[in-house]
C-alpha cells in the first residue's frame, strides 16, 4: 500500500487493529483456560448466545417490553418537557421561581426515586413509564428553558426595532435559537431514559431486557449478560444516529462542522 493511503486512513487502520487485537486476546485467554468462560465469556460465546436466544424467540418479549416502556415514557417527556421548558423560559419570573426546584431535581440522581415510583405504580409497565418520564422530562425541560434564555440579544433587538409582536419575536427569534438546546436535551434525556428502563427492570420486573440481564447474572451466564448490555448499547447508538439526523435537518442554516 502506498504510504500516503496508509497515512490518510491511519485512524481507521489502527482502530481496526486495536479492536481486533483485544477481541482475539479475549477469545484466546478464555479458550486456553486462563479465565473462566462462565465469568468472562468471549466474543464467540456472546455471538452464540445471541444466535440461540434470538433463534428460539426468548429475547423478543423482553426487547418489546423495554422498547414500549422507553417509547411511551420518552414520548410523554417530550410532549410535556418542551412546552414546559419554553413556557418557563419565556415567562422569566415563573422560570426563576421554579429554578431551584428544577436544579435540585436535575442534581438528584433520579434513579433514587425508583423504589417510590414502584411503590406507587406497582411492578408493571406503568411504573416504568413513570420512571422513564421523570428521568427524561427534567433534562428536556431544563435544557429547553436554558435555550430559551440564551437567545442572542442582538436578534431580539432587531425584532423589537422592526416592531415585531410578542408572538412573532417568539416564533422568529426565541424558537429557532432554542432548537439546538431542545435537541441536546432530547439526546441526553434519551440516554438517561435508557438507564431508567434498565434500573427499574433490575429492581422490580418479570420481563424486559434489564430483567433478562439481571436474571442471567444470577444464573452465572456472563455471555447473556454481555449480550443484553450490547443490545442496549446498540439501541442507544441507533437513537443517537436518529437524533443526529434530526439535528442536521434543523441545522441547515448553520455551517457544517468539519
Amino acid at each position: 500500500m502506498p504510504r500516503r493511503v496508509v497515512l490518510r486512513h491511519e485512524p481507521l487502520i489502527f482502530g481496526i487493529i486495536g479492536f481486533v487485537l483485544v477481541l482475539v486476546a479475549w477469545e484466546a485467554a478464555v479458550d486456553m483456560g486462563l479465565a473462566k468462560a462462565s465469568l468472562l465469556s468471549s466474543p464467540t460465546r456472546i455471538w452464540n448466545a445471541g444466535a440461540t436466544d434470538f433463534g428460539n424467540g426468548i429475547l423478543w418479549p423482553h426487547l418489546a417490553t423495554s422498547l414500549l416502556e422507553w417509547c411511551v415514557g420518552f414520548a410523554l417527556a417530550i410532549v410535556v418537557g418542551i412546552p414546559l421548558g419554553l413556557a418557563l423560559g419565556v415567562f422569566r419570573r415563573l422560570g426563576k421561581i421554579v429554578d431551584p426546584l428544577l436544579s435540585a431535581l436535575y442534581a438528584t440522581p433520579t434513579v433514587a426515586l425508583v423504589p417510590l415510583v414502584i411503590l406507587l405504580f406497582g411492578i408493571g409497565v406503568n411504573a416504568k413509564f413513570a420512571i422513564v418520564f421523570i428521568e427524561a422530562v427534567i433534562t428536556i425541560t431544563v435544557s429547553t428553558m436554558n435555550g430559551t434564555r440564551s437567545a442572542d440579544r442582538r436578534h431580539l433587538e432587531t425584532a423589537r426595532s422592526f416592531g415585531a409582536s410578542k408572538w412573532l419575536v417568539f416564533t422568529s427569534v426565541t424558537l429557532p435559537s432554542t432548537v439546538p438546546f431542545i435537541i441536546t436535551g432530547v439526546r441526553i434525556g434519551a440516554g438517561r431514559a435508557i438507564v431508567a428502563v434498565i434500573v427499574a427492570e433490575f429492581i422490580a420486573a418479570n420481563v424486559g431486557i434489564g430483567f433478562y440481564i439481571s436474571l442471567n447474572g444470577s444464573l452465572l451466564n456472563a455471555s447473556r449478560v454481555m449480550l443484553g448490555v450490547l443490545l442496549i448499547g446498540a439501541f442507544g447508538v441507533g437513537i443517537g444516529i436518529i437524533i443526529g439526523r434530526l439535528q442536521r435537518h434543523f441545522d441547515r442554516w448553520r455551517p457544517a462542522i468539519n
Binding site: D152, T158, S161, F162, G163, P176, S177
Partner: protein, 270 residues
C-alpha cells in the same frame, strides 16, 4: 445645497436627550449621554462620529426606541406610509436561521404582510443592494460585506422615514468597507432616505454625509456640527482632495482632544 436642505421639513428632532444608567455591579449611576440636541431634515445624510464608548450607539438605540431616555424629547416624522424608522445594526443581526429573502422581508412580516407578498416586495430591494441570485442562501454562506448589504435591504424594505445605521461597516476589512461606502451612496441616492449614520471612522463620515456631528468622550454631548460642502455625486477619489483632508483634520483635532492625545497643537484640554 445647504439652503435647499434647510427648506425641507424636519425628519428628526432631538432636544436635551440625556441618558443615565445604573451599573449593575456597583449600583452607581453613570451618565452615558449628557445632552444631545440635533435636527435632521428630510433626505439629509447625517453622521455622528466620536471616540469609542462615547454613547453614540446608545443615542441611536434611544432614537430607535430600544432604550428609554432619562430626559429630553425625540420626535420623528411620521408620514404614515412606511415605518417611521428602521435600524441597520453593526453585524450578525441577520437571523442565521432565515434565508436572505426571509431576512429582508422580516420587517414586512412584522407588519403582518403575508409571506408570499412580503417576499415579492423584498425582491426589488435585494436587487437594489446587488444580492440578486443570493436570496435563498443562509447568512453564513455570505461574506461580511454581503451580509451588510442584506442588512441594509432589510431596513429599506419597510420604507422607513429615517434609516438609522449603527456602525454598519465596522466589522468589514478596509477594502470591503470602502466599496460598501460607495455602494451606500449609490443606494441612498436611489432610495432618497433620511439617514442617521453612526461611525468612529472620520473619513467614512465625511465621505458619506451632508453634515457630521462630532461627539465628545463619555458622557457624550455634541461638540460640533460640521456641514460637508463636497459636491455630489462623490467617488473615492474625493478622499484625496485637499478639501476632504481639511475636514478630516478639523474633526480629528476635535476628537483627539477628547482622547487626551495631542495631534500637533493644544495639549491643555484633555
Amino acid at each position: 445645497m445647504t439652503d435647499s436642505i434647510m427648506d425641507r421639513p424636519l425628519a428628526l428632532r432631538a432636544e436635551g436627550v440625556r441618558m443615565e444608567y445604573r451599573d449593575p455591579s456597583t449600583q452607581e449611576r453613570l451618565v452615558a449621554i449628557e445632552r444631545i440636541d440635533c435636527e435632521i431634515r428630510e433626505g439629509e445624510f447625517v453622521s455622528i462620529v466620536g471616540p469609542s464608548g462615547c454613547g453614540k450607539s446608545t443615542f441611536l438605540k434611544v432614537v430607535n426606541g430600544l432604550l428609554p431616555a432619562t430626559d429630553g424629547e425625540i420626535e420623528i416624522r411620521a408620514s404614515g406610509k412606511g415605518q417611521d424608522h428602521a435600524m441597520v445594526f453593526q453585524d450578525s443581526s441577520l437571523f442565521p436561521w432565515y434565508t436572505v429573502i426571509r431576512n429582508v422581508a422580516y420587517g414586512l412580516a412584522c407588519q403582518g404582510v403575508n409571506k408570499k407578498e412580503a417576499a415579492e416586495r423584498a425582491m426589488p430591494f435585494i436587487k437594489l443592494v446587488g444580492l440578486e441570485g443570493f436570496e435563498h442562501k443562509y447568512p453564513y454562506q455570505l461574506s461580511g460585506g454581503m451580509q451588510q448589504r442584506a442588512n441594509l435591504a432589510r431596513a429599506l424594505t419597510v420604507d422607513p422615514e429615517i434609516l438609522l445605521m449603527d456602525e454598519p461597516f465596522a466589522a468589514l476589512d478596509a477594502q470591503t468597507r470602502e466599496l460598501m461606502q460607495v455602494e451606500l451612496i449609490r443606494i441612498w441616492s436611489q432610495a432618497r432616505k433620511t439617514v442617521l449614520f453612526i461611525t468612529h471612522q472620520i473619513d467614512e463620515a465625511i465621505f458619506l454625509s451632508d453634515r457630521v456631528l462630532v461627539m465628545s468622550a463619555r458622557p457624550g454631548r455634541i461638540l460640533a456640527d460640521i456641514p460637508i460642502h463636497l459636491p455630489r455625486p462623490r467617488d473615492l477619489d474625493i478622499k484625496r482632495t485637499p478639501e476632504f483632508t481639511a475636514y478630516e483634520d478639523q474633526i480629528w483635532r476635535l476628537i483627539a482632544k477628547q482622547l487626551s492625545v495631542t495631534p500637533s497643537v493644544d495639549s491643555s484640554a484633555a
